[in-house]
């Protein structure tokens, strides 16, 4: 059954700052710390920005300038699909001879999904295929820019004051310029240094990088405070009686995608430039090694560094579940796959009583007591028809089948609760050969790296009891 293969059925516990239970396919493995890492215990760094439709790379500085939007591509304001440019031939008078008309190409934007066109909002057809489309200007831009400048200056001034205070506490012969080069001051409206950033959950300020460059002259900027109005524009008289023209009313999503204008009518929905996506790289917080680094090219989906957990840790998957009955022992068939190329020894242990990790299990489980041996992954084996038998002595009560680097084995499950889903947990202990660590100069003949034993807490969700 395909539902048993769903990744959420088998969860591995990650012991990071928080204890997280995640399928193995979503985890990373730091082979320097020899620990599992989830997305929450790594630091995310932006590698590059790119547009998802034209796949154009954009350096970060340019992306910031363009507010993280692509210059060429547009989104449909109605259904958020990517707009495509279509051409029509319209008769237009020749510039030389006004009486004759010639066919000229006119371009308009159209959505293939909801059939929205730029003509719907009254945007005239352009004569150039790209670059002719302008976003409407926000009427409040000037005020917003002035406010931003004012607050930038305020932040800079506060930073200097703080530095001066710190300076006063220091010994007097410290050089004056030290404060400008200190790396420990957090900019108020900026992102802190990497030391501050590593705290998980630290919010990233929206006004990133707004601090003034050093050396700029500090011109005093004043702003007028916002004026509170007593009188509000009255509603039109037929506001309550006029029938609503439903196709004209914009949905909340359409409206909020354009926070500048938030138009209430569909005839004012203008297309916006497409948002850029980013490629990110992940870094282990403890040892600062990169866990995942994608390639720079937006068209490439490969990674330069890809330390994902599925290529280091044996993966448990559920193969078949019999009818589970309350307090009756049933055999569940699981598979264990070895991702590495050398032989792996796996032992399973039940969780002890009062194990702090074991909070979700609702059934008792009896795991095989013998050590399971998994053959290495051999990429050429699938093409080899006359595969030699692997010569492993398997106990037929424990091991159901063996196929290259995968075995199927039985566990016995005794559901303890009468209702609800059956969840079991056990510990998986396997040996891991760390090929990343420098091999100590050993005596001649020893080429294998040292094996260390790793233990993981695995939880399986076996579904509801049979009725």
């Amino acid at each position: 059954m395909a539902t048993l293969l769903q990744p959420e059925k088998v969860l591995y516990l990650v012991r990071g700052e928080k204890k997280i239970r995640v399928p193995l396919s979503q985890l990373y493995f730091c082979r320097y710390c020899s620990e599992l890492r989830s997305l929450e215990c790594v630091s995310h760094e932006v590698d590059s920005h790119f547009c998802p439709s034209c796949l154009e790379n954009m350096p970060s500085a340019e992306a910031k300038l363009k507010k993280n939007r692509c210059a060429n591509c547009f989104d449909c304001p109605c259904c958020m699909h990517t707009l495509s440019t279509r051409a029509t031939n319209i008769p237009a008078p020749l510039p030389d001879d006004p009486t004759k008309t010639t066919m000229k190409k006119a371009y308009y934007l159209a959505c293939g999904f909801c059939r929205w066109t730029s003509r719907d909002v009254g945007m005239a057809d352009k004569s150039v295929a790209s670059g002719g489309w302008q976003e409407p200007e926000n009427p409040h831009t000037q005020r917003i820019n002035k406010l931003i400048e004012y607050y930038q200056q305020l932040a800079q001034r506060e930073k200097l004051e703080r530095d001066r205070k710190k300076m006063a506490r220091r010994r007097p012969f410290m050089p004056q310029a030290f404060s400008q080069h200190t790396i420990h001051v957090v900019e108020k409206y900026g992102l802190g240094t990497r030391l501050q950033r590593q705290r998980s959950g630290a919010p990233i300020s929206a006004l990133y990088g707004l601090s003034l460059k050093e050396g700029e002259d500090q011109k005093e900027i004043t702003i007028e405070p916002a004026q509170a109005l007593d009188e509000v524009e009255p509603l039109p008289e037929d506001y309550y009686t006029r029938p609503v023209n439903l196709p004209e009313v914009t949905t909340l999503r359409q409206r909020l995608l354009q926070p500048d204008f938030q138009p209430a009518g569909a005839s004012q929905l203008h297309p916006r430039h497409k948002h850029l996506l980013m490629k990110r790289s992940l870094r282990c917080r403890k040892c600062e090694h990169n866990l995942s680094k994608p390639e720079f090219n937006p068209t490439s989906i490969r990674f330069k560094i890809q330390l994902v957990a599925v290529s280091y840790i044996p993966e448990v998957r559920i193969m078949s579940i019999p009818n589970l009955r309350h307090m009756k022992e049933s055999q569940v068939l699981l598979t264990l796959t070895n991702p590495v190329e050398n032989i792996t020894h796996v032992s399973l242990y039940t969780c002890e009583e009062e194990d702090p990790d074991d909070i979700n299990s609702t059934a008792k489980v009896l795991v095989p007591s013998k050590e399971l041996v998994l053959a290495g992954k051999d990429a050429a084996a699938e093409y080899d028809e006359l595969a030699e038998p692997q010569g492993f002595q398997d106990d037929p009560d424990v091991v159901a089948f063996r196929k290259s680097n995968k075995i199927g084995f039985f566990i016995k499950v005794i559901p303890q609760q009468e209702e609800g889903d059956v969840t079991v947990a056990f510990k998986l202990r396997h040996d891991f050969r760390n090929l990343a660590a420098p091999i100590r100069p050993t005596e001649e003949g020893e080429t294998t790296a040292e094996a260390i034993w790793l233990t993981h807490h695995v939880e399986l969700s076996l579904g509801p009891l049979a009725t």
């Binding site: 259904c79 999904f113 909801c114 059939r115 929205w116 003509r119 719907d120 196709p247 569909a266």
Partner: protein, 217 residues
């Protein structure tokens, strides 16, 4: 495959006007009239069970499209009280691949996109565009009428009892609607191309004059 058991009497026959291109592999049963310049792809099914179907000119009926004039589900086929209602389809409509249409009245310039499901009680007026709709379940509540210029999008199901106003676009998984300002263009280029190319690869059903004796190849 063509139904070999269709009766040759004047009532239940397929009348294909001159200029229409109807492939032999299409399944046309019952009393169906097909207008000129209409292209019916192979594996399209036009089934007139509970009444005749009249298809206008310039229509494009693609593969696995199902146009069916069926009995309402709560009546048995053998009931004599049921008066056969004709299903009238206008001109320049496009029935894309895999759509199901049971609406009794379809106007002009409509587009029913792939896997759309238009119920019996829907009336598409002019220029509707039915975005592709996924039809998996049985049809329920087929009292729609498509006027003209409507577009019923992919995998949208229209089973309401209503007249879809002109130039409506129904799209998305929740069948959102909006009105477009212009009608979809008639697929003249496509029709011309198909009328030239299809006879090179498929046998065609013989066309008859509308008053002549029915004959099928």
């Amino acid at each position: 495959m063509a139904d070999p058991s269709a009766k040759q009497t004047g009532q239940k026959s397929v009348k294909i006007a001159a200029g229409a291109v109807v492939c032999v592999e299409s399944d046309i049963r019952g009393d169906v009239t097909i207008g000129a310049r209409t292209v019916v792809h192979p594996k399209a099914r036009i089934i007139a069970e509970a009444g005749p179907i009249v298809i206008g000119e310039g229509n494009l009926i693609e593969e696995q499209a199902l146009i069916i004039n069926s009995f309402p589900e709560n009546l048995l086929p053998n009931t004599d009280d049921v008066e056969p209602k004709p299903m009238i389809i206008g001109v320049n409509n496009v029935f894309e691949v895999g759509c199901v249409c049971q609406a009794l009245k379809i106007g002009d310039n409509n587009v029913i996109e792939s896997k759309a499901d238009v119920g019996r009680s829907v009336m598409l007026t002019c220029v509707c565009v039915c975005v592709c709709v996924c039809v998996c379940a049985a049809d329920v509540g087929r009292s729609v009428m498509l006027t003209s210029g409507c577009i019923v999008g992919s995998c949208c199901q229209i089973h309401t009892c209503e007249v879809i106003p002109e130039n409506t676009v129904i799209y998305g998984s929740e069948c959102l609607r909006r009105v477009q300002t212009e009608r979809p263009q008639p697929q003249t280029l496509q029709l011309d191309f198909l009328m030239k190319i299809l006879p090179n690869y498929h046998h065609l059903k013989k066309t008859v004059k509308s008053s002549g004796t029915p004959a099928r190849s």
